[in-house]
């Protein structure tokens, strides 16, 4: 269990964390999801002790570790760019934490062998990181972090540097691993698909605050505000009403149709009909020139005979419409993205912030 209470962190004039509180139950896999500069990496690094908070507390497994250095927090940390020890073999990398703790050689050997098998790197133990692919390096880094039996496993955009195919494979593998190992895991990502795919719980961050915490279904179906809704999954605006594209109902106008546009109901021109396998995406433009998309099944598309250039009513059914507030002080400052870049790559020509 990790409990963060009232966390605040400033980098110069940029507030990376603004009174953040979150509770992460034992054995779960939680994703911190947000855009660049939202503070998700800073929050993770604060839990690890790689950043020190300006205010607030971090409690891991009942122990207040706010002033405890990373060495003694009982954590495992995986970096986006692997942070592999380049001058050590895979075996020595994985064994590092145990060697530091001066465990008996036989025990280290057994533990490393076991972990190499878990991450599928048996037979690679004598290679150097430079001789591994990105995915293999990250699995090595995971084994290295798990070797010290951490209380919590912290992953900072662990698949961000990998290509799409490897990324998808690896995150499913991580999910299976988590189901076996059951270590409390926190994963930082800016990829909503990744968060939905692996996490039990997602915390959506924006501008140094947590917008909403919940399981993937809740966040998708019952977002607390417009930011969460638009950040998780796609959104269309039907006459100013926000709705998921697949909830939009399309209707052919009747010949004597005199109904007027209104909130959640507009007459729109079909610009393009795109078939995406089972689904059909209909790209629309309303009378004001606003573009939006609706998603319908192929059956519906055929039944309505949707063709580009024709007009249809796009209706946001009342059950799918949520009257959501704007998040508090909406809008992302221009320098936010930069600050996040700097924070996540600190060390290269920059004074380290750890």
């Amino acid at each position: 269990m990790i409990t963060v209470t009232g966390a605040r962190k400033d980098f110069g004039t940029f507030r990376a964390l603004d009174d953040v509180s979150i509770e992460i139950p034992s054995g779960t896999l939680t994703a911190l999801l947000g855009p660049s500069g939202s503070g998700k990496s800073t929050l993770l690094r604060s839990i690890a002790g790689l950043e020190s908070l300006d205010a607030g507390t971090v409690v891991i497994a009942g122990r207040d570790v706010t002033r405890v250095p990373p060495q003694q927090r009982g954590i495992g940390f995986v970096f986006q760019h692997y942070a592999a020890f380049k001058h050590m073999t895979v075996r020595d990398n994985v064994a590092f934490g145990l060697t530091i703790r001066r465990r008996p050689k036989a025990e280290v050997r057994a533990k490393v062998d076991e972990l190499l098998e878990v991450v599928g790197l048996e037979g690679f133990q004598h290679r150097y990181p430079a001789q591994l692919s990105g995915g293999q390096r990250q699995r090595m880094a995971l084994a290295r972090a798990l070797a010290v039996d951490p209380e919590v496993l912290l992953l900072d955009e662990p698949f961000g540097a990998l290509d799409a195919k490897v990324r998808a494979d690896l995150r499913r593998w991580l999910r299976r691993l988590h189901d076996e190992v059951h270590v409390t895991t926190v994963l930082v990502t800016h990829d909503q698909e990744e968060a939905l795919d692996v996490a039990d719980t997602i915390a959506v961050l924006n501008r140094g605050r947590i917008e909403q915490i919940g399981d993937p279904d809740t966040l998708y179906d019952a977002p607390d505000n417009q930011f969460v809704m638009s950040f998780l999954g796609s959104v269309s605006s039907v006459g100013g009403t926000l709705v998921r594209p697949h909830d939009i109902v399309l209707e052919r106008p009747a010949p004597d149709d005199t109904r007027a546009n209104g909130p959640g109901r507009v007459l729109a021109t079909i610009e393009r009909v795109v078939r995406l396998g089972f689904e059909v995406r209909v790209e629309l433009r309303d009378a004001d020139g606003e573009r939006f998309a609706a998603e319908v099944t192929r059956g519906v598309a055929q039944q309505l005979g949707l063709v580009a250039g024709e007009q249809v009513w796009a209706v946001a059914p009342s059950h799918a419409v949520r009257d959501l507030p704007q998040p508090p002080d909406a809008g992302v400052p221009a320098d936010a993205a930069e600050a996040d870049e700097v924070a996540s790559t600190a060390g290269v020509g920059e004074p380290a912030r750890a």
């Binding site: 954590i75 495992g76 940390f77 020890f85 530091i100 880094a141 060390g347 290269v348 750890a354």
Partner: protein, 268 residues
């Protein structure tokens, strides 16, 4: 770029001729002159008491200067790359000072500072002889070789970044453990080159050392001073060539050792 074959060949020939005339010919000349009378004569010439003493003194100075420069250089590079403190720019500039100041000037300033009547001249009354003694030569050599380790290690530190060190910290390594197991091995290439340059420069330093040495054959002559005194004072041209060859030999051995050492370390 479109360069005709003729002009390309001309440029190449010019560049090669330049290198041959300025670098290869002088070195080959010395080697030829040294070994012309046979290997026996060379051996004879570097086995005189003055030559043995000069070689020992040179190696002793190297043995003192290199560890000091390694410790100072690594510490300074770490501070300059990782630290943020007032006066960082000033220190950056000071580190480069030895590149800008002529070694003779260094020698003169050391005499003014450490010699009788100098600011620190008082140490001589305590029986600690700096100028015209070994300490003076060591200080002079440190001065001229100071930037090498710093400047070679700095870019390597920038390149490796701090993530590996952070990873080591999360795995339980203390600051010292991280330094010995992660940072030092990661910077070994830069450090190796820095050490090679330091040794080469220490072996060859003449200007600053000649100012602060009493220059007695067999007592306070380094190899460079021996070459000079054989050639100028003793009119012993052949002896100067032989000593010069010995000096070059030491530098080549250093280079080979470092290359072998590093190849071995990077493959094991």
């Amino acid at each position: 770029m479109t360069t005709s074959t003729t002009s390309r060949l001309t440029l190449r020939t010019l560049a090669l001729a330049y290198l041959v005339a300025l670098l290869a010919v002088p070195v080959l000349m010395i080697l030829w002159r040294t070994f012309e009378p046979g290997f026996g004569a060379f051996w004879e010439s570097i086995r005189t008491p003055a030559a043995i003493s000069a070689m020992n003194l040179t190696l002793l100075i190297v043995a003192i200067v290199v560890p000091l420069n390694v410790v100072f250089g690594v510490t300074t590079a770490l501070a300059l790359v990782r630290g943020s403190f007032r006066g960082k720019g000033f220190i950056e500039a000071v580190v480069d000072l030895p590149f800008a100041v002529s070694p003779v000037v260094v020698g003169v300033s050391l005499i003014m500072l450490w010699g009788v009547g100098g600011w620190f001249g008082g140490v001589e009354h305590l029986g600690f002889r700096v100028i015209f003694g070994l300490p003076g030569m060591v200080i002079a050599t440190i001065f001229v070789t100071l930037p090498f380790v710093v400047r070679e290690v700095e870019p390597v530190l920038v390149e490796i970044g701090t993530e590996q060190e952070q990873a080591a910290a999360t795995l339980g390594a203390s600051g010292w453990q991280t330094f010995w197991r992660i940072t030092l091995p990661a910077m070994r290439w830069g450090l190796t080159y820095g050490v090679v340059l330091t040794i080469a420069r220490s072996l060859g330093e003449f200007g600053a050392v000649t100012m602060v040495s009493s220059n007695f054959p067999g007592i306070s002559q380094t190899l460079t001073l021996l070459v000079n005194s054989r050639y100028i004072d003793d009119q012993n041209t052949y002896g100067a060539y032989a000593a010069a060859t010995l000096l070059m030999g030491l530098a080549v051995v250093t280079l080979l050792l470092m290359t072998l050492l590093d190849r071995k370390r990077s493959t094991t």
